[in-house]
């Protein structure tokens, strides 16, 4: 059993844009994921962070083969699953599960909770009826719901409780990897901590590996061992959670970190915010060269417009896709006027 549970290489997911009434022509493509490399070690939590349109959800779905990769490879536990089909794919699904963002649409409203949680096990014919029932009870308790919850229906539960049901369903098959796609974003603030703590506990207990996809950096930092930052379909920075916050290197990461409000007015007063100019470019028509250059406060005329920066290693495991990462870090390049705002 290797340590590397998941290895993704040059993953691309392009969604064709079609036009035409009778015969549809492909006039372009939305390049949702455009060259992503990822590694996840067994037992770790990799955070995948980025704002809307960056492609992080699509990466998660491509890994799960819920969306077809346009090119690239996905190697799960040593096995190339990129083109797996049929029964082999179904078998592989037992080992990777997912938790969805929306607790309200991710559970079939017309099925009882017990049926929803039992479904993965029934589908794979894993156990007898009685065994499945026992397991459902066990799973519900594991996630903090009473056994009676099984006979109820999703609409009778709150958002946080429904998310727990989703987690119970994901655990049923003892997966190796769980892709959690914004699992707490739709929940009330006071409930998020409950679910996050639950996820952490379950990871320890069941030796789970997580790919934690979210736009909320504070949450991602809390729960992840390593973090990958995505922008417009590519990864711009990968580092351990500590390194990313102590020494962010990519200008986008800098802007992202400075934009997150901190519930402490004293700290907020002292902060310097890096404000990005303009809007996110369209993924159907990404900028040339470095995709971030159109909004980058550290943009230089020389290479940024023409050359795509490779994701290169700066400091032992900390990788950045920026031509001038070192100079920015050392203060040799300053941000453009007006991009930095005090307190």
């Amino acid at each position: 059993m290797s340590d590397r549970l998941l290895a993704v290489r040059d993953l691309r997911v392009h969604f064709p844009i079609k036009q035409g009434l009778v015969m549809e022509r492909t006039v372009g493509a939305v390049r949702a994921v455009d060259g992503v490399d990822l590694d996840i070690e067994r037992g770790e939590t990799l955070g995948l962070v980025g704002e809307s349109g960056c492609g992080k959800t699509t990466v998660g779905r491509a890994i799960l083969r819920l969306v077809e990769p346009t090119s690239g490879s996905i190697v799960f536990d040593g096995r190339d699953i990129t083109h797996l089909k049929g029964e082999a794919l179904r078998q592989m699904r037992r080992r990777m599960q997912t938790i969805f963002q929306d607790p309200f649409s991710s559970l079939d409203p017309r099925q009882s909770v017990a049926r929803i949680v039992a479904e993965p096990m029934r589908v794979h014919g894993l156990a007898s009826r009685a065994e499945v029932q026992d397991r459902v009870r066990e799973l519900l308790e594991t996630v903090g719901l009473p056994a009676e919850a099984g006979s109820r229906y999703p609409h009778e539960f709150s958002g946080g409780q429904r998310q727990r049901i989703g987690i119970a369903r994901a655990l049923g098959l003892n997966p190796d990897l769980i892709v959690a796609d914004e699992p707490v974003s739709a929940l009330d603030v006071s409930i998020r901590a409950q679910v996050l703590n639950l996820l952490e506990e379950l990871q320890d207990r069941f030796s789970l590996t997580y790919l934690f996809v979210s736009h909320d950096l504070a949450v991602v930092r809390h729960i992840s061992d390593r973090i990958a930052v995505m922008y417009l379909g590519t990864i711009v920075e990968v580092a351990s959670a500590d390194s990313l916050y102590e020494q962010p290197l990519h200008p986008y990461t800098l802007a992202l970190l400075s934009a997150i409000p901190i519930p402490d007015p004293v700290v907020e007063q002292r902060r310097r915010r890096i404000l990005l100019a303009g809007d996110l470019p369209s993924p159907a028509d990404p900028p040339t060269g470095c995709r971030f250059h159109t909004r980058c406060p550290f943009r230089r005329p020389e290479r940024c417009h023409d050359e795509i920066p490779a994701l290169r290693e700066i400091d032992g495991g900390h990788r950045v896709a920026c031509h001038y990462a070192e100079q920015i870090r050392d203060g040799e390049i300053r941000p453009a006027a007006g991009a930095v705002v005090e307190g």
Binding site: D108, T142, H155
Partner: protein, 303 residues
């Protein structure tokens, strides 16, 4: 014991004792709605009358009582003939009662066949590949392009005037309506996360369609079914009114009865009133229930 399990012990799942799936809850909501109850009563009445017409009707609908006929005069309601006699001396009440059978048969049968075929097509289109969807929907578009009335006339011209022609016409007209409806509903379900979740678990596509998507997609179709029943009855009456129904003059079809009484509206308006009222009342029941069902099945109105 993990923290989560401790939480499970102290957490009170605030749930009422009478838990129910969405179907049973919808039924409960329906039961509480006075308009729905009224509508359901009317439908029940309509069905009972249709079934038990031979027992309820005082006379045979085709029996002619020549003694009472005088040119230019139509005996109105009397003790022996509650609704009076029609222009050929037949008991109006009995004809109205027997007429329910025809309306029911035409409505139910034609609608069921049309809806069934429509749902099959819509289901395939909504759940299947894009090209399947495209082809089927273009077919439906073509069907929708033909006006129902013209189609009915064409059928009658080909197969002759009969009840069967009317049923075929009504059935066929309903196919694209139900096809579109179910397709739309299925497509909406397809986008839901729980369908994605089922795929992620490895549920086979056919099972996803049958156990997940279909039960959730069927609600608007049921509502439409009830409302279409009302329309089917009116359509049947309308076609009969136009002379496209059964060629047999003795058949007590309400629409036909309306047509026949046009010429003597001045002298005997009650002969038009009774079949008209019968049509309206039977249709009203379905409409009321259909509206109430729409509300009852709406998941957004859940408590």
């Amino acid at each position: 014991m993990s923290i989560a399990e401790v939480e499970a012990r102290e957490l009170a799942v605030v749930v009422p004792d009478d838990t129910a799936g969405l179907w049973r809850e919808a039924w409960r909501r329906l039961r509480r709605n006075p308009i729905a109850i009224f509508g359901m009563a009317m439908i029940a009445l309509f069905i009972l009358v249709a079934i038990f017409a031979p027992l309820l009707a005082p006379y045979s609908p085709t029996r002619v009582d020549l003694t009472q006929i005088r040119p230019g005069s139509f005996p109105g309601p009397s003790a022996e003939h509650w609704f009076g006699l029609d222009q050929l001396g037949r008991d109006e009440l009995s004809r109205i009662l027997y007429g329910a059978r025809y309306s029911l048969i035409i409505g139910v049968v034609s609608l069921s066949i049309g809806a069934a075929i429509g749902m099959l097509i819509g289901g395939l289109a909504g759940a299947g590949a894009r090209w399947v969807d495209s082809v089927l929907m273009r077919l439906m578009d073509m069907m929708l392009a033909v006006p129902g009335l013209l189609f009915a006339i064409a059928v009658a011209a080909t197969l002759g005037r009969s009840l069967t022609s009317v049923m075929i016409a009504i059935g066929v007209v309903n196919v694209p309506i139900f096809a579109r409806l179910l397709r739309g509903s299925m497509l909406a379900q397809r986008e839901q996360d729980y369908v994605l979740a089922a795929r992620a678990v490895g549920v086979k596509p056919r099972t996803i369609v049958m156990s997940h998507m279909l039960p959730n997609a069927i609600a608007p179709v049921i509502v439409q079914g009830t409302l279409s029943m009302a329309t089917a009855i009116i359509d049947a009456a309308g076609l009969a009114f136009l002379g496209l129904g059964s060629a047999d003059p003795g058949v007590p079809e309400w629409g036909r009865m309306l047509a026949e009484t046009q010429s003597f509206l001045q002298h005997a308006p009650h002969l038009a009133l009774f079949p008209g009222a019968a049509i309206v009342l039977s249709v009203l029941g379905f409409n009321l229930v259909g509206d109430a069902l729409r509300e009852a099945l709406d998941p957004k109105l859940r408590r």
